[in-house]
Each structure stands twice: as structure tokens, then as C-alpha cells.
């Protein structure tokens, strides 16, 4: 960890369309271990929000408990954060989102927080297609309690202490697709070029956007024999696609090979161009996406990129038909039916 961040910034830091420099998107100083993958993910979130002109105060950062869940304090200082309890981020995010549909919800969780104690809430949050970005910083171990295997640790993966994990890993990305998640991506904390556009796309997706990011634990799970070490992941990562952003008003020109590029219209009118690298896989076909992922697992590869997406998706608010104005903005006059109606109710109870 660092103890100090110099206040000095380059005097000519570029500003985005809102007039903010990247500094405005930073958070407090990270207290995670030097080299922790989570800090790279945090940096990707900062960059994505800066580049995409997101108003930081219109973001709510919500997390559970664990190393990953500390990170909301390390990005977007002008956004409210909520570091809740272990495994319960999804429910807090659900309530928050119901109260104000106009904010952007970024949920941060870890593999222990999601795949073990929080599995129930993760699963049900997907069912409801809550409009949020759900990032799992996945390092296959419990960092804060000094390196125990988590439920995403691969079978046969060796811990720092030399013990071998005997249980099957829970594959969160496959599970999310299986459960009906409408945007599922996978990435590697060391691949910022891929991660930044994925975060941007996830923010734009109207519905549950899940990104499982393999994020090595430098202290407890970066040893030889671990399948979540930097070296191992670098050797086994297989990118499925790259993503470009096309600003809403710009003309889209076909720069890419026919058949390998798909333009997606996002909820806010932005268009993203998805360039396929894998040929026998269609990210808009659930079956095809699942097959590709299973094949990769058999080959011992980690498939990354946008794995599956539904372009048209009804989030929880549209399912519940809630008011287009945020519920937390409704006035007393709109909420309280008043004494006259209560008199009618009383009359019906006599």
C-alpha cells in the first residue's frame, strides 16, 4: 500500500465534457497491498467514468465486506458510498435503486462476498434484472483473513501454503448467464484496455450488468500452482472480442470485416461496436455463449470480453411499473391519500 499520494498534478490535465479532470474521479488512498489487482480495477472504473463524462455525484457505490468491498472508498470521491455487510450488497443496491432510479449503481463485491455468503442475494438480484453494474473482483481467496480458498478457487489450484483445493470452482459468469443476466462480461485486472470499455458498456446497459474480473491476490494467491496468479492468468486468457464506443451523433462507418462486427444500440442512444475474435460464438445467443464458455473451461482457458448480452431488457423498475420520477423525489401530497379517503376506508370497515 501507499502512504502518500502527491497533491501535484500535471498542470495541463485534460478535462472531459463536464469540465472535470481525472482527479475529480479519484478516491481516497488505497490501503490494499501494493500490486493488488483490485487497484487496477478501481483505476479502470475511474478512467471509464472520466472518459464517459459521468457525473460522479450521480453514482452510488455499494459494496459488501472484504478487500474488494473496501474499494468504493478509492474511486469517485464525490459519489456516496455504502460499505454494507458481508454478502448483502445486492439487497442494499436493490433498495437504493428502487428509491432513486436516476442514479448509476456500481456494486463492488468479491468472490467470497458473492460466491459464498452472498450467493443467495447475487442470484436473486439477477432474477430481478436490477439496473446496476455488478463487479466481482475475483481472486479465488479470502484476502482479509489471510488466504483461505474461496468458492471460485479452481479445483487443483495450489495455495501459497501448498495445499491443493479439492472442490469444484463456481463459475460466476456462466452462472449469471444461466440465471438470466442480461449483460455478462469477464475480464482480467491486468487488461485495462479491455476492462475500461467493458465498464463503460456495463454502465450503459439497462439492466443487470455483471463483470467477473480475475484480480490476482499478490499476497496470498500469486504463487506457482495457483490458477489465479498473474502469470497463470496471462498465459491462459483468451479474449473473445474488443469493444469500441461510437458517440451517439457520429456516423458509423463499417471499418471492420463483414460478419465480425456488431453494432449495439445502448439504452442512452450510444452505439458500441463489438469486434468478435472468436468465430464460433454469438454473444447474443445464450446457448452459443454458454457453449463457448464451457469449451474454454475444458481447455483451461479464461474467456474474456463481453460474453453475453440482451439488447432489449426490462429492468426491475419497468417490471414493477414504478413512477418515472424517482420514488425518493415524490412529495407528501403525492404519497399521503389524506383524511377524506381514510374516512371512506373507515366507512367500509363498519
Amino acid at each position: 500500500m501507499s502512504y502518500y499520494r502527491p497533491a501535484f498534478r500535471h498542470p495541463n490535465l485534460p478535462a472531459n465534457e463536464l469540465g472535470y479532470t481525472v482527479e475529480h474521479y479519484e478516491g481516497g488512498l488505497s490501503t490494499l497491498c501494493a500490486g493488488c489487482g483490485h487497484d487496477s480495477i478501481t483505476a479502470a472504473i475511474v478512467q471509464a467514468c472520466f472518459e464517459d463524462n459521468i457525473e460522479p455525484s450521480k453514482v452510488a457505490k455499494i459494496s459488501g465486506i472484504g478487500c474488494s468491498s473496501k474499494t468504493p472508498a478509492y474511486f469517485l470521491n464525490s459519489a456516496h458510498g455504502f460499505n454494507s455487510v458481508h454478502g448483502r450488497m445486492p439487497s442494499v443496491a436493490t433498495g437504493a435503486n428502487l428509491a432513486n432510479r436516476d442514479l448509476i449503481y456500481i456494486g463492488i463485491s468479491g468472490d467470497g462476498d458473492t460466491a459464498s455468503i452472498g450467493m443467495g442475494q447475487f442470484v436473486h438480484c439477477i432474477r430481478r434484472n436490477l439496473n446496476m453494474v455488478y463487479i466481482v473482483m475475483n481472486n479465488g481467496c479470502y484476502g482479509l483473513t489471510k488466504g483461505q480458498d474461496s468458492a471460485t478457487a479452481d479445483q487443483g489450484s495450489k495455495s501459497k501454503a501448498g495445499s491443493v483445493n479439492m472442490f469444484h470452482a463456481i463459475d460466476l459468469a456462466s452462472l449469471a448467464i444461466e440465471l438470466g443476466a442480461t449483460f455478462v462480461a469477464q475480464s482480467f485486472s491486468g487488461d485495462k484496455a479491455q476492462l475500461v470499455p467493458l465498464v463503460k458498456a456495463a454502465i450503459k446497459h439497462n439492466g443487470f450488468a455483471f463483470i467477473n474480473v480475475i484480480s490476482p491476490c499478490v499476497t496470498f494467491n500469486n504463487n506457482v500452482g495457483s490458477t489465479k496468479s498473474y502469470d497463470y492468468v496471462r498465459q491462459h486468457v483468451e479474449a473473445t472480442s474488443t469493444i469500441d464506443f461510437v458517440p451517439p451523433a457520429a456516423t458509423i462507418t463499417a471499418n471492420y470485416e463483414q460478419g465480425s462486427t456488431k453494432q449495439l444500440k445502448m439504452h442512452d442512444g450510444t452505439v458500441i461496436a463489438l469486434h468478435k475474435l472468436e468465430q464460433d460464438w454469438d454473444p447474443f445467443d445464450k446457448l452459443s455463449a454458454m457453449t463457448a464458455m464451457h469449451k474454454a473451461t475444458i481447455k483451461g482457458e479464461l474467456l474474456t470480453g463481453l460474453l453475453y448480452m440482451e439488447e432489449e431488457s426490462s429492468d426491475l423498475h419497468s417490471l414493477l411499473q414504478t413512477s418515472t420520477r424517482p420514488l425518493n423525489a415524490l412529495s407528501e401530497a403525492e404519497l399521503c391519500p389524506g383524511s377524506k379517503i381514510l374516512e371512506e376506508i373507515n366507512a367500509g370497515l363498519r
Partner: protein
């Protein structure tokens, strides 16, 4: 009160013994409503199994001219439609009482008692002759016994016609067969028995503008009127109807007729943990929100209650208490979550509890809880119970003052934040323990912080400094002291103390406690009374205890939990606090209270005129 044959007038208990899942509930409610419509105070209790079909279920109706709404021991008239429970049903009839049964089959001699009267009506036979559809046979058999009991008790037939017309509005063709079944019961009684009985009813004007409503519906309306917009819940008896009723009322009252858009969101969560998590998330984000649950849910919610307490987030929980521990008796009543709720969660925690004792208070206190939770930025639990929540109660009408304004507490808006140099979420500028909160998205650069269940300083920054921790946790306690005089105040039942003996009660114990006080007064024993309406306790409570040599504390749990809470929080001398307890799952009776109090005071039982 004596009736014309020396029997009792407008003072009786009728118990219906049914099989659950046979549609008896609506017939039994019809009976209750007919008494209510005749202007006579009435109180029904559903005594039902945790089961959907086939097990014994009872519906007990007390009619009381004096207006006593608690349960009374002893059954005057048993309407037995369930052979499964006949032994028990015969045994519970008071000497001189009546046993009404289906005489399609002869009654086995072992069920014959010499000290009660038997009135056999061939319900099944008559019904099978008249109706061919099996479901109709079952339903109309129920209506038929209501007709029989109506004739026996002298209930006005016109009242039933009126009730059927209301019930079947839009389905008018159902009125005729229902009236027919009712008349078959009436006519059978008229032809075969001397009627009415010496125990009977007579029209009065005692109900005035009262309503009949269950506490769960009243809580739900309190949520609607109190401005709750996000309701998250998990099904659990006996609280389920709170969320369902909220949903129903909100659909009617909060849906835009033109667009179909709703000014509320109801989510059936995956469990109680998630339900409270959603409430905290919504409240944190500036919406009013609540959940409803029962004991097992409170256990599961404990972790989140601690987060709400320590991170200072409003939350309202309606706890419709049932018989514990563990799954306990899920369909029976108790006041046994008191200690758990008061101190829910690990670490040093104290939660605000509100203690409604009737539907009107369920309505008011749910709305109050939403104000208090936001003002004190902490969880508030509304402690009702199964008896209050699921039974219909005669209650004063619900009232809402249109001048009332929601107390949203200390929330800074963008203009306020502009004026502040450095915002400190957990500072105590007003010296009442309550800081100023901000809602996410309020200001582009000011007022944001990370809400956390970890230790934090006045600026919401994580800290493990002992001094900062102590300062913070002490300030949270100060908030609790401030709350003492802001929560609903205890009710005293005398202008000045008249006795050296006091009695304290709360919630559904109130009905029977008040009746017991009258019974004791009739015997020349005066008890000063105080009803608790909330925790924390204020000076009124400590003064009351200090002013009496002995104080009875009446409650419905085994361990005298309220007594313990008073002992911890408001009394230095435990020896004067005498527990009066009932924990069999049925609502406590006045007779039970009188017996226990008399025994403690040392009055010989013989001098007390208790009928059972």
C-alpha cells in the same frame, strides 16, 4: 347483565370448532359482524393451526356489553362442526352452557356431559338434501349453522340480509342461496328448540363509529399514509398480510390511473436478510421504507439491524410476534421478541420499539415509526403480535390529520451544503446526538461520504482510533436518550396515584389488563395503571415505578422480558417488579391476570368472584 330468563344478555363466548380449509372463516366472520352491526361490542379470535387444510381450527367470539375486548375464559356456546376435536370441545363448555353439533350422525355417549345442554342439528343431512355441488354443500353448511345460532341468540335476520348484500355486491345471484341456507338453520331451530336461549343478544348502541379491522391492515395503511414507497418483505406468518395489504391499498391509492405508473415498489425478497437490506438501501437513498416480519425474521435481520444502528440509517420493521423460540407455534400469539428486538445485533445496540395495543395505534405508530426512524436515523421496530395483527378488532376509526407533515429529520440539501466548509456526517451540532445526513446525488461536489458498518470518525472516515470510536458510540447513545421524550408517551390511567401497588402492561395485554383492574376494583383492590407505548422508557415510567411499593408487569412470554428490560433501563430495585405472565400461545385473559395478582397480594381465592 341478566337476561329475561335469568340468563346472560350480551355477555357470552361462542366458540366454533371447524376443520381448516372448509370456508368456515367467512361464515364465522359473518356471525361476528352481525353482532357488531347490532351495536354490541364483540371480539373474535382465530385459533388456527399452521396448516392449510384438514386440521382443527377454532374461532372464538366474545360478546361484551361492557366493552371488554380481551379473551375470556370459558365457552358458553360451542358450535362443533369438527368431530376430530370433539373431546376437547365438549370439555371446554362451561357448566350450564350449550353444545351445538351436527346430529346427522348420533353423538357417541362418551361425549355426553350432564351439566351442559346439547342441541343437535342435522346440518350435513339438510345440506346434502338441498345442495348437490360438493363445494356448495360445505360452504352452505357453514351458513346454516350461523342461521341456527342466530335464531338461538336472537340475532336480527335483517342484519344478515344487509351483510350478504354488501358481501356479494356485483355477484347478486349468490345472495339468494346464502339466505336460503341461513333460513334453513333458523327454521330448524324454530321448529325443534325453545328459542332464544337464556344466553342471548339484544340490540344496543355501544359500537358508535367504531370499525372492525385487523392490525396488519392497519399497519399497512399506516405505511401508505406515512409515505412509505419501498416495501420489501419475505412471507412469514403472522406478518404476511402487512405487506400484502400495503400492496393492495397502494395499488388503489398510489397508482396513476392514466399511466398505470406506481408511486411505490413492493418486492418480495429472497429472505428476511435481503428484505431489511432493501429497506436500508432505500432509506439510505432518501425513500421511506419498511418491512414486516415475525420472530424468526428478526433473528435473521439482526445483523442488518446492527448496521442500521451503527451506520445510522433509518429503517422500520413491523414485528408481528408469534410463539417462539425457533419455529415455535407459528400460528399462536406471544410478546416474546421484546428483549431480542430491543438489543438486536452484536455489540452495544439499543433499538427504538413502539408498542401498539389496537388497530388504531397500529396505523398511527407505523406512520410515527417512519418519522422517528428518519429523525433518529436508526431502526424502529413496531411490536405487534399475532393476536393484534391477524384478528379483527373493534377499534376507534383511523384518523389522519391533514395538517400533519412528515418529519424527514435532519437532511441537508444542495443549498445547505453550499454554505458548509467541510461536511461532517457524524458531527453533533445540535447536541442531541443526531447528525445531519445527505442523500446521494444531492450536490455535485459536497456532502458525499462512505456509509459504513466499520468504525468511523465524525467525517465518516474509517478509523480504528479508540477515542474516535468511543466518542461516536457515546453520541449514538445520546440519540437514544433524546428519543425518550420523542417516542409515544406512556399512558397513565389515573390523574394521581391512588395505591401503593401499580400494574404495567403493553400491547394486546391491555384489553385484559384493563378488565382485570375493574375486577380487582370490584373486590376493593385498587391498582394504579400504566401502559407502555414505547422503548426507550422516559421519566414517567421511572416515576411510576418509584411511586409504588410493588408493580405488576403483565406480559405474554415465559421469561418476563419486559420486566427485564425495565430492570435494565428504568428501575434500581428489581424486588418490587412482580411478573404476571401468560405464554401458552393464546391471548391472556383478565381472569388469569386477576388470579396471579391476587395470589401475589395474598387474597384468598374464595373472596374473588371468578367464574372459572
Amino acid at each position: 347483565m341478566q337476561g329475561r330468563n335469568g340468563g346472560k344478555l350480551n355477555d357470552l363466548v361462542v366458540r366454533f370448532a371447524n376443520v381448516n380449509g372448509t370456508g368456515s372463516a367467512s361464515a364465522n366472520y359473518l356471525f361476528t359482524k352481525s353482532i357488531f352491526r347490532m351495536g354490541i361490542p364483540v371480539t373474535p379470535k382465530n385459533i388456527f393451526p399452521s396448516n392449510i387444510q384438514g386440521l382443527p381450527t377454532w374461532y372464538e367470539v366474545r360478546v361484551s356489553e361492557k366493552g371488554y375486548l380481551g379473551r375470556r375464559d370459558g365457552v358458553d356456546i360451542m358450535v362443533c362442526v369438527n368431530p376430530q376435536s370433539m373431546r376437547k370441545d365438549v370439555d371446554c363448555v362451561k357448566p350450564g352452557g350449550y353444545f351445538i353439533y351436527d346430529s346427522t350422525k348420533a353423538l357417541h355417549p362418551e361425549f355426553i356431559r350432564k351439566d351442559i345442554s346439547y342441541l343437535g342439528i342435522p346440518l350435513m343431512e339438510m345440506c346434502n338434501k338441498e345442495f348437490s355441488d360438493p363445494r356448495q354443500r360445505q360452504l352452505f353448511k357453514n351458513i346454516m349453522y350461523v342461521g341456527a345460532i342466530a335464531a338461538l341468540l336472537d340475532i336480527e335476520t335483517g342484519v344478515f340480509r344487509e351483510l350478504f348484500e354488501e358481501q356479494f355486491k356485483g355477484k347478486e345471484k349468490l345472495i339468494t342461496p346464502n339466505l336460503k341456507a341461513l333460513n334453513m338453520g333458523i327454521e330448524y331451530v324454530q321448529k325443534n328448540f325453545k328459542y332464544p336461549l337464556d344466553i342471548r343478544v339484544e340490540r344496543r348502541d355501544l359500537v358508535k363509529n367504531s370499525i372492525m379491522i385487523d392490525g396488519n391492515s392497519a399497519c399497512a395503511l399506516g405505511g401508505v399514509y406515512g409515505g412509505a414507497t419501498v416495501v420489501a418483505w419475505y412471507p412469514i406468518t403472522p406478518s404476511t398480510a402487512v405487506a400484502e395489504a400495503f400492496h393492495g391499498y397502494a395499488e388503489d391509492l398510489r397508482t396513476d390511473k392514466a399511466t398505470g405508473k406506481k408511486n411505490f415498489a413492493v418486492v418480495q425478497a429472497e429472505d428476511e436478510l435481503a428484505a431489511l437490506g432493501m429497506v436500508l438501501g432505500a432509506s439510505w437513498n432518501g425513500a421511506r421504507s419498511f418491512t414486516a416480519t415475525s420472530g424468526p425474521g428478526i433473528s435473521l435481520m439482526s445483523e442488518f439491524l446492527g448496521l442500521g444502528y451503527f451506520a445510522e440509517i433509518p429503517a422500520v420493521v413491523i414485528d408481528v410476534q408469534r410463539t417462539g423460540p425457533s419455529t415455535g407455534m407459528p400460528t399462536r400469539s406471544q410478546q416474546s421478541d421484546i428483549l431480542k428486538a430491543a438489543y438486536a445485533s452484536h455489540g452495544d445496540t439499543k433499538n427504538i420499539l413502539l408498542l401498539p395495543s389496537n388497530p388504531k395505534e397500529c396505523f398511527e405508530m407505523t406512520a410515527d415509526a417512519l418519522d422517528l426512524a428518519e429523525f433518529f436515523q436508526t431502526p424502529v421496530l413496531v411490536m405487534t403480535d399475532l393476536d393484534l395483527g391477524m384478528n379483527d378488532h373493534m377499534s376507534e376509526p383511523l384518523e389522519w390529520n391533514d395538517k400533519r407533515k412528515y418529519n424527514r429529520g435532519k437532511v441537508l440539501n444542495a443549498v445547505d451544503l453550499e454554505k458548509i466548509e467541510r461536511y461532517g456526517r457524524f458531527l453533533d451540532p445540535d447536541n442531541d446526538g443526531v447528525g445531519y445526513r445527505t442523500i446521494p446525488g444531492t450536490h455535485p461536489t459536497k456532502g458525499a461520504y462512505v456509509t459504513r458498518g466499520t468504525s468511523h470518525d465524525e467525517y465518516a472516515v474509517y478509523t480504528e482510533e479508540s477515542d474516535a470510536y468511543v466518542k461516536n458510540i457515546d453520541r449514538i447513545l445520546k440519540k437514544f436518550h433524546t428519543a425518550k421524550d420523542k417516542v409515544p408517551q406512556p399512558q397513565l390511567y389515573q390523574k394521581k396515584n391512588n395505591s401503593d401497588t401499580g400494574i404495567i402492561f403493553f400491547g394486546t395485554t391491555t384489553y385484559s389488563a384493563l378488565e382485570a383492574i375493574d375486577m380487582m376494583r370490584d373486590k376493593g383492590i385498587v391498582l394504579d395503571a400504566l401502559r407502555l407505548k414505547a422503548f426507550p422508557f422516559n421519566k414517567t415510567v421511572t416515576d411510576f415505578i418509584d411511586a409504588h411499593k410493588r408493580v405488576f408487569i403483565v406480559e405474554q412470554n415465559r421469561d418476563a422480558q419486559m420486566r427485564s428490560l425495565i430492570l435494565i433501563e428504568a428501575c434500581s430495585d428489581g424486588s418490587k417488579l412482580v411478573p404476571v405472565l401468560n405464554y401458552d400461545g393464546l391471548p391472556i385473559t383478565a381472569e388469569n391476570i386477576v388470579k396471579q395478582v391476587s395470589k401475589a397480594i395474598g387474597i384468598p381465592k374464595s373472596t374473588l368472584k371468578i367464574e372459572n
